[in-house]
């Protein structure tokens, strides 16, 4: 029996002990007021702790039964030769997965998820992680579009906005990453000197998407694809407050 199974059994035993103890207390303290007895009787048992493995297993079983097993030829073909049409850059935020909001099925889109859906400019030493994805996907799979999707209330953009002007040394890894969006921040502040709060952040969230589209063109194979009209660059913005999805612009 695994440790995981043992933990489940222990939780049930704890609940039983709690109930037994409550009943005994009611018998021994007969002078307790009705109010106290009532409060004991309606006490709810504590909820079982979150089980991450159980959650994952349920999710996988659902996928296997309802999707994979019902579409065997599709997944067989996918295992041999995927033909994604998209490379998508989106935020790691738990609320904005493109597979969910755009109902993308396995095989349709390569996805890079990072803080604030940023694409840095070409730099083989500094940003090889993103560069590896772009090079691999564009040259191997001949995708038709690269989509950068921003979103509302982005923690990464909020962090970018919090960096004091003139600060040269990043405070941490997050600071270091989000400074990719510094040109977008500067552009928005220059054009909208009176904007503040959420309005300002929204403007930067959107401008950062366009900044990333511009940075994509610094990769020679991306630029070649766009010039030959085989590749389209699209900027999107998901507003989960109002439930909207907007196309901000495209480069083709």
């Amino acid at each position: 029996m695994s440790e995981y199974s043992n933990k489940e059994a222990d939780t049930d035993d704890e609940h039983m002990c709690l109930n037994t103890r409550n009943e005994k207390e009611q018998e021994d303290t007969s002078h307790n007021s009705l109010e106290n007895i009532t409060s004991l009787q309606v006490t709810e048992p504590p909820p079982p702790p979150f089980d991450p493995i159980k959650r994952m297993k349920e999710g996988f079983n659902y996928f296997k039964v309802n999707e994979f097993n019902k579409n065997p030829s599709y997944y067989r073909k996918l295992a041999e030769k995927p033909e994604p049409k998209f490379l998508i850059f989106a935020c790691s935020d738990s609320r904005v997965c493109p597979a969910t909001i755009l109902n993308l099925r396995p095989g349709e889109a390569f996805m890079t998820l990072n803080i604030a859906n940023m694409v840095p400019a070409f730099n083989q030493l500094r940003y090889c992680e993103v560069g590896a994805v772009i090079r691999y996907v564009v040259l191997t799979y001949k995708v038709e579009a690269i989509v950068v999707i921003g979103h509302t209330r982005c923690g990464g953009i909020e962090r970018l906005m919090s960096i004091p002007s003139g600060q040269t040394k990043p405070r941490d890894f997050v600071d270091d990453w989000v400074t990719i969006g510094q040109p977008a921040k500067a552009k928005v502040l220059a054009k909208n000197p009176k904007a503040t709060g959420e309005e300002l952040r929204t403007l930067v969230e959107k401008e950062s998407v366009m900044n990333s589209l511009g940075n994509l063109l610094s990769y020679p194979y991306v630029k070649a694809g766009v010039t030959s009209k085989k590749l389209k660059l699209i900027g999107g913005y998901y507003d989960f407050v109002r439930g909207n999805f907007d196309i901000l612009g495209s480069k083709s």
């Binding site: 695994s2 440790e3 995981y4 909820p47 979150f50 991450p52 493995i53 959650r55 297993k57 999710g59 996988f60 659902y62 996928f63 309802n66 994979f68 579409n71 599709y74 997944y75 996918l78 295992a79 995927p82 049409k85 998209f86 790691s92 935020d93 738990s94 997965c97 969910t100 755009l102 109902n103 099925r105 396995p106 095989g107 349709e108 390569f110 996805m111 890079t112 998820l113 990072n114 803080i115 083989q124 030493l125 940003y127 992680e129 590896a132 994805v133 090079r135 691999y136 038709e144 579009a145 923690g155 962090r159 941490d172 890894f173 270091d176 990453w177 407050v241 999805f245 196309i247 083709s252």
Partner: protein, 304 residues
Amino acid sequence: MAQSILGSSPVFKAECPKSSASTSTISGSKLKYSGIEQSQLGFLNSSKSNLALRLKASREGVGLIQETKVDTPNLIKKSKDGTDSFTEMKQRFLRFKKEKYLENLECYQELAEAQAPKFLVISCADSRVCPSYILGFQPGEAFVVRNIANLVPPFENGPCETNAALEFSVNALEVQNILVTGHSCCGGIRALMSMEDEENSSSFIKNWVTVGKSARSRTKATTSNLSFDQQCKHCEKESINHSLLNLLTYPWVEERVAKGLLSLHGGYYNFVDCTYEKWTLDYKRTNGNQEKGGYIIKNREFWQ
């Protein structure tokens, strides 16, 4: 079940607990943790603070491929005058809005205020292995990083895309679980295994996948009798464990793991036969061995 592995590795309707709400302010951002409640009928009772959307309710009729259809629809369709349109993208989003967003409006409104995911998932960018799909993570459940070959570089490599997300999810969001999930037929791992030992030329792909070189070394040392394809498969799993060890090189990660606030899990998705293997890093027994590349895993399960 604890399994000692030193120097080698082979590697929708649920009920979830109600939890009390608490708030914390970190770095100027207000984060709110709310409870999760799921009903047996597959729909969340939105009168409570529910953040996880049930798979059955949110997936029915949405985007499932019908076996009779041979071609996947293009998201970009050409209109009659030859210009591209985004009709299909728009239709899919509106379908999501109608069938998921509006059906669970209170959930999404709560999520809009704050997220409190319990997972950080580090996955490959491969189009076939989206964690939202294969593990059913719903909005609010998992902070996800996706890169080539689901690699985690060590702390001493300095700032990068992956460890920025790692820092944010662990320090700001205080996730309780990190899952590094790999997969079969990984092109990034194949590139890693194909690299020459003394290769001097640099490229984006080589500069990145070299993060996994210790996994490659161990694989080559232990599987020299196997075919290249088999070695790649071995390395796909070995690199997951080395990424788990690399996670421990981050002080803020190890601190939370040592306190029992954070668990590190490995997962491997085989999309050829649709199986999933998962395990958990046994920190207490690994502690002290990781610098030599040793690790111990526990709670290994195979789902098929």
